[in-house]
């Protein structure tokens, strides 16, 4: 089981260095809201990202090939399949 890390702001809002060290290989990183704008920079935290589809679309963000757009059903399902979630 792994942790779901939820980010809602561009990565410059957070302390990357600590986060890089806290996020584990098998954890999931989900970008919602304004975090979607910096999907490229979030790669330093995790090499596979989920983006909340509605939020990305409203911001005219094309989801990069290696990333995955998810809807609210999957968002809810991910919180259940993770051992714990952290809203950063």
């Amino acid at each position: 089981m792994s942790t779901l890390h939820i980010f809602s702001k561009p990565i410059s809002y957070y302390d990357n260095e600590r986060l890089v060290n806290l996020i584990q290989q098998n954890d999931t990183v989900l970008l919602v809201g304004d975090a979607c704008y910096s999907q490229k920079l979030y790669f330093q935290l995790c090499d596979k990202l989920l983006l909340l589809s509605d939020d990305a679309k409203a911001r005219n963000i094309e989801i990069m090939q290696q990333n995955t757009a998810i809807d609210y059903e999957i968002f809810v399902a991910k919180t259940l399949s993770s051992s714990q979630s952290i809203t950063w």
Partner: protein, 117 residues
Amino acid sequence: MARFVLSLHCAPSDHDTTQRLFKFATTCLEQGHSVDTIFLYQQGVYHASEDINLATDELAIANLWQTLHQRGIKLMLCITAAEKRGLNIAATNLFTVAGLAEFAMLASEADKWVQFK
């Protein structure tokens, strides 16, 4: 089917987080899960104000809370957080004034607690 509690930590001027909380909560219900409470904490308590006055092209926050309430979700706010921040706890709309302990007990029984901020 799982039991959720959700908490909201940002002021009503954060419309983006508000719409996300709404969609997450309604999706939980549509998937057959229960949402035992939505709890206002920190700046989130201001959502219970009866004086929010928005133009028609803004997010219809009052309608969102009305919908969540009608679907049977218990809307609660933290009294300590509210008193320190100047919310009128005698007029809190659809929200029930509660102690932190009441929420903590619901959170302890829930399968998942998801924060919105």
